[in-house]
């Protein structure tokens, strides 16, 4: 599955901290030993592969690093403070945030018609159309970014078509800049947005729309007064999901940005593997985590306001 493997489920996890059906559990509370025996391997696996690395990473942000793998074990806030005091990292953080926001807005706009279509259609091709919309999810982000490099490149599909048609004299700069990254990310995150919207469109009801229209409402009015408000929870979920995925994505900014586009994720990579300044990479990661947490927190507030879930 593509896109840094982060899934749609992230939002689901935020929505339902403990999803458990109302089904009665008659076999419940049978045996303490049994359920702990069942749980322990999974807990250990998660502890080793997820909790330890994360905790160790956060601790690392309070050490001092000089690059080249030199780490001074201490407890200081100076490493975390460094990016916060440096205008360059304010710009990187701002660019990351702006990119996430732009991608999320555009992605929601282009995914909405498809999601609405899939929810409403009674076509016998519905299953196929749904699979077609989600299939890109099961292709590596690397492959799809490569596809966009071919489309947007200097000799790519768009430029050669426009030049041949005589519409532009010289090829447009569509890769190795933010424009290319945003176009690529919008497409790459569309399946996630579509999936999130379909799940959130539960209250969209064609009978209500028919009722409004038979009472004389215009098509535009039916949409703004009935369809849009009912589909809002799905839209908000999709927006949040694409936003958090965008600000943490690495592959697409790396490849389509061509080293010119610097966001938090590419900075973390450069600091980790290039400069070997691990405490500083960890400090940037902590900033990314805080950004992530703040957005999810805000989302839960919005969802509560909308009165769903």
């Amino acid at each position: 599955m593509s896109v840094d493997t982060q899934s749609f489920t992230a939002v689901e996890a935020a929505q339902h901290p403990a999803g458990r059906g109302p089904q009665e559990k008659r076999t419940a509370s049978r045996n303490r030993v049994t359920y702990w025996a069942l749980l322990v391997p999974g807990l250990l696996g998660l502890l080793v592969s997820f909790v330890f690395p994360l905790v160790y990473m956060i601790r690392m942000a309070f050490n001092e690093g000089e690059g080249n793998g030199i780490v001074r074990q201490t407890f200081t806030f100076s490493t975390i403070a460094k990016p916060l005091l440096d205008p360059y990292y304010w710009k990187v953080t701002y660019d990351t945030f702006a990119m996430g926001l732009t991608v999320a807005v555009l992605c929601v706009l282009v995914s909405y018609p498809i999601a609405l279509f899939l929810v409403r259609t009674t076509s016998k091709w519905k299953g196929l159309l749904l699979a077609l919309a989600l299939a890109p999810l099961l292709t590596s982000a690397v492959v799809r970014t490569y596809g966009w490099m071919v489309i947007l490149g200097y000799d790519g599909l768009i430029n050669s078509t426009l030049v041949d048609a005589g519409l532009i004299a010289r090829p447009l700069q569509l890769t190795n800049n933010m424009t290319g990254v945003i176009i690529g990310l919008v497409e790459i995150f569309m399946p996630y947005a579509i999936l999130a919207m379909i799940s959130g469109f539960g209250r969209v009801n064609s009978q209500l729309e028919e009722a409004a229209s038979s009472l004389g409402a215009s098509k535009a009015r039916v949409f703004t007064r009935i369809t849009l408000p009912l589909s809002l929870p799905g839209v908000v979920t999709a927006f949040l999901l694409v936003f958090v995925l965008s600000i943490s994505t690495f592959i697409t900014p790396r490849l389509l940005g061509g080293g010119v586009v610097q966001v938090l994720a590419t900075e973390i990579y450069d600091q980790t593997t290039g400069l070997l300044n691990w405490p500083f990479a960890a400090a940037l990661s902590v900033i990314l985590l805080l950004l992530f947490g703040a957005i999810i927190f805000a989302y839960q507030g919005v969802i509560k306001k909308l009165g769903v879930n």
Binding site: S29, L38, W148, M190
Partner: protein, 271 residues
């Protein structure tokens, strides 16, 4: 999605303009995959348009690209092993979360899903920091370990979904008749929840197989996986070989989509 019962013929909402918009957006969504398909047959030496002719040479060159073959081997080994491990630790955990009652249950459920709430790149950095001093970077172990954390949630989720909707009366009957816990699981529960387990396993495999960021961080120089090799290749050169490889990977994904769709429905499995 439950369809309301329609007594009269439904008024069609799909106006031509709207249909055209949806078709155009579908085209945008599938554009990179379509273009990769075209370019893989293009006889142009570089990525340029339009193709001067069509050829199969990129597909013929593919077996000679040893970096891709090595990467494929690494990816298959690590994805298979991490899938097996995740199934062995995830399915029992899901079973405990659904069939037993205990106090910290809600907390543990969210704990098992929490890796999805953390950016992969942050986790990747943590793995490098912890595995580096142990001398485990650039090994199969580092990739497998990294992929266990990010795939557990999928297995737990799909298995829980199957468990939630299954009927427990057969299990009780077997127990009343004297079957022990393991027999009940093997003979009754597992066959019932098999679609969820299968879907979880397939998704875990694909996530692991396609994952590039963790693999890049923990094993770039020693054991690059296929996505890492493709990433490197694309950064330096751009010819049709990588397109041919991509087409094969896309077809592979399509086969998987069909399997998951047959097993339990793609949408249910992914959410």
């Amino acid at each position: 999605m439950s369809q309301p019962i329609v007594f009269k013929k439904r008024v069609s909402f799909v106006k031509p303009a709207y249909g055209f918009l949806v078709a155009a957006l579908y085209f945008f969504l599938l554009a990179p995959l379509l273009i990769v398909f075209v370019i893989s047959f293009s006889s142009n030496q570089y990525l340029s348009f339009p193709p001067d002719g069509f050829t199969l040479k990129w597909y013929q060159l593919l077996p000679q690209e040893t970096t891709f073959i090595d990467g494929l081997q690494t990816s298959l080994i690590t994805a298979s092993i991490s899938t097996v491990i995740v199934l062995f630790i995830g399915v029992p955990a899901a079973l405990a979360l659904d069939r037993y009652d205990f106090r910290s249950k809600a907390l543990l459920s969210s704990f098992f899903l929490s890796p999805l709430l953390v950016p992969t790149i942050v986790l990747a950095l943590g793995l490098v920091l912890i595995l580096g001093p142990l001398g485990l970077t650039n090994t199969y172990v580092s990739i497998i370990l990294g992929h266990i954390g990010i795939t557990i949630p999928y297995v737990i989720r799909t298995t829980l979904m199957s468990l939630n909707t299954s009927d427990t009366s057969c299990e009780e009957a077997a127990r009343v008749l004297g079957a022990d816990g393991l027999t009940v699981f093997r003979r009754i529960t597992l066959p019932i929840i098999a679609p969820g387990v299968l879907a979880g396993g397939v998704i875990a495999f694909i996530v692991s197989f396609d994952e590039a960021v963790i693999s890049l961080f923990v094993a770039e120089s020693g054991r690059p996986t296929l996505p890492v090799q493709v990433l490197r290749y694309v950064e330096n050169s751009a010819d049709g070989v990588v397109a041919a490889l991509s087409v094969i990977l896309i077809l592979f994904s399509l086969v998987v989509v069909v399997i998951v769709e047959r097993a339990m429905g793609l949408r249910k499995a992914l959410r």
